[in-house]
Subunit: 476 residues, 2 copies
């Protein structure tokens, strides 16, 4: 499913200088555990949608330095022959723990944990962040946009504004997991099996003597799947009437026009007028597609004004994750255990201190299935109703886990000894999982403006471990 | 130079349905001319830096539908066997006209023009936009950041936050052209020949018993290229003093510490303090590197406060083109001539009307070499001092080209009949070209806040052609 081989050199140079250092100091086989997490939910929202796991696992499984890679590194003149020999035989043999793709996840939570030898777990930092940050960001944006569209269909249209060719492919994958299940990107259709959609541009209309001829020509070639772009000249005075003419001509030949597309102007107003005109002319089944700088906020306001749009084409704002708190996901990858000892990145600000050691990520679920909160605890700690849990950024805030809830582990071991050890869910299943999770979020958490913040806590054991480590560092 | 083969399916589906339509209607070999341009300069700035041409030309030259591609399209059940046969033999045989990479370009100007058969010129729309939009966006951001850094060196650090793996590679390429000539991305180093940089992360420090041991270990392995990250515990009380200890130990062995890196806190203040401590200790040559959410505005304010930073590591904000007016470049690709007739996308708003037909793009240069303005004119029109030129968005604004200036053509034919017909400049030459152009911009145009807007005009001939076409359409 990776469209091209991810180079082993898809990494920051400092990963390699650190590896060389660990190797020369005999530390490269030390035991290490790294957590990948982010500190702020994107888009000023209350959640993120985990995505990128399969892409990451395939990269890890295939990770090799080719002869060309070694020759390139050798020519840099910084690395010893012994170290280059080590890289030549390098294989990633760690364990990888994560939730399934499509799982809702939150700030401070370990999305992905890598356990194994220090050098192997360190090297893959950059590529894992690159893959998981972007796909998770886009899956989250897609969930927000699809949420705003309600029962409307959303298409991903963004390839031309994506950040490079693979930006477009990763975007289509992330968007699918978040709920946007079709794309204009034919390569994504081929590689990922996503349904592709699209009909024609303004240039098609301009290549004919007039709009009506262009519509007739298109409908003639694609009589059962024509969506006519009606805004080249004048949407309501020319585009929609010409589309209705062609719809009638198609019907006379035993076909039905599939839809019209609006691409400029006041989409709420134009869609209501167009719907009325189509209905009056006897075409209530013709769909109205709209595009032009759409995002979750625009779609929400169009729907609130009674716009009659069936299908939203969203491009730039989806694939570039535009909007406040968007543009990137600030995932980081931090050492939480080394050579048998839990590790903490110390800082005077407890909100920025990392959460040490191997952890479990627990979802506390109410009897009706609604998510109540998430709790991180130590690996061997059990968690049950009545236990005290703590705000990770302000441990003075504490609360008991209520009675009657279920505690479910969110994460699984996907890779062991560098091999994928269980069948990866199909993309459809990931998207279904995401949709099902969104339905279980507490009231108000999915709101676009000032959402209710979903609670993420740490257990008594993890809080105590962190306090102990912080005191120890501050004493030194 | 393309790190992987760009699939012919790296396109929006509507390009293929339009191609099928043109093919079935016998129009696919009609003569056509398309312009790629954008309507707004990015980042609320006064210019953009053209980049992506070589990547685009390599894609165009190698464009083929493989047997797998044809099989995939066939399975969609929308295309005739004749059309699929046509695609099987499809080659891109058009002419491509553009300025050299690194040229400063402005809104409304045709960055890239494709002339040839309608189907060939149409198919490549999506991929050309994808390539040119992103690389141009990043080259522009890089020029802004390097401009803010003055004589300081800027490193591109953004791979982990880039939009997918190739987002990182394209970013490194665009950034280089814009003036950021080194990267942390080792793959970009290998594929593009860009210098790679990097030393160690916080995890290195945390993997040792204490900070001093970690610094000693790193300096021992890389005695001539160590840059020590000094903010893991306490920058001024622990990090810098420990770095000075190691610098002295290195000197005793005949080596010199290369630098220290600050990655948090008040970078202006910390850099001044660290500079003072290093100088006092006898290490005035040790460089200070800084990173952490930098962009052109932060760098500008650090320098205004007298910060003593030699090298700026810029990641997220560079590769995601963050900031107002950033995130994406809204390039479009419009039909300007078809079957022997100039074409115009009509709209009641003259500011949004396209500029029809084949054009020349002229830079008017003052006697001292300063750029005075750009003018677009018809292909066979000559332009000289004294000629009247018009604001493209408001033709009532007109002005004469002053006496004494030179008029220079900005664009060249790079590809003819689908073959690259001239040697492409090396990446270094593109970056030098950009740097030289930036020095020739009029006063105030490079300002970060409310820059002076560089003038872009259309000639008398082009204005007359557009007016004539608009009247004709409005009459119909």
């Amino acid at each position: 499913m990776t469209p091209f081989r991810y180079s082993a050199l898809l990494t920051d140079f400092y990963e390699l200088t650190m590896l060389a250092g660990y190797f020369e100091k005999g530390m490269h086989e030390d035991e290490a555990v790294f957590d990948l997490f982010f500190r702020k939910n994107p888009f000023k929202g209350s959640y993120a949608v985990f995505a990128g796991l399969e892409t990451a696992l395939r990269y890890l499984e295939e990770l090799r330095f080719t002869d060309e890679d070694i020759a390139y590194l050798d020519a840099l003149g910084k690395f010893s022959a012994d170290f280059l020999d080590y890289l030549r035989d390098f294989r990633f043999r760690c364990k990888v723990i994560a939730p399934p793709e499509g799982t809702l996840i939150f700030n401070h939570e370990p999305l992905l944990t890598v356990e194994g030898k220090l050098a192997e777990a360190q090297l893959v930092e950059t590529a894992l962040l690159n893959i998981v940050n972007y796909q998770t960001l886009i899956a989250t944006k897609a969930a927000r946009i699809q949420g705003a569209a309600g029962d409307g269909v959303v298409l991903e249209f963004g390839l031309r504004r994506a950040h490079g060719p693979d930006g477009g492919l990763s975007a289509a994958r992330g968007a699918f997991i978040g709920g946007v299940r079709s794309t204009s990107n034919v390569w994504a259709g081929q590689v990922l099996g996503i349904e592709v959609k699209g009909t024609h541009a303004h240039s098609w209309v301009m290549a004919f003597a007039d709009e009506l001829s262009s519509f007739r020509a298109y409908a003639d070639v694609f009589p059962d799947s024509a969506v006519l772009l009606v805004d080249t000249y004048d949407t309501l005075r020319s585009g929609v009437p010409n589309a209705i003419t062609v719809a009638q001509e198609l019907r006379d030949k035993g076909h039905e026009l599939l839809g019209i597309r609006l691409d400029s102007g006041d989409l709420a107003y134009l869609s209501k007028q167009a719907r009325h005109m189509l209905d009056e002319a006897g075409f209530p089944e013709v769909k109205i597609v709209a595009s032009n700088e759409l995002d979750e906020y625009v779609i929400d306001s169009i729907r609130k004004e009674g716009g009659r749009i069936d299908i939203y084409g969203v491009g730039t704002n989806l694939v570039t994750a535009a909007g406040e708190g968007g543009g990137h996901l600030g995932g980081v990858y931090k050492l939480v255990r080394h050579a048998g000892r839990p590790k903490l990145k110390v800082t005077s600000d407890v909100a920025k201190a990392t959460l040490p050691d191997r952890k479990r990520l627990i979802r506390v679920v109410e009897p009706d299935g609604t998510f109540h909160q998430d709790v991180m605890c130590c690996e061997n700690e059990s968690l049950k109703p009545g236990d005290m849990v703590f705000d990770p950024t302000n441990p003075a805030h504490r609360k008991k886990i209520p009675e009657g809830v279920q505690c479910e582990d969110l994460r699984q071991v996907w890779m062991d000894d560098g091999k994928i050890k269980k069948e990866l869910p199909a993309l459809d299943a990931c998207a279904d999982h995401c949709a099902a999770q969104l339905k279980r979020m507490p009231n108000g958490c999915l709101r676009l403006y000032n959402p209710h913040i979903y609670k993420v806590s740490i257990s008594q054991g993890l809080n105590a471990l962190r306090s102990r480590l912080m005191e120890k560092y501050l004493e030194d």
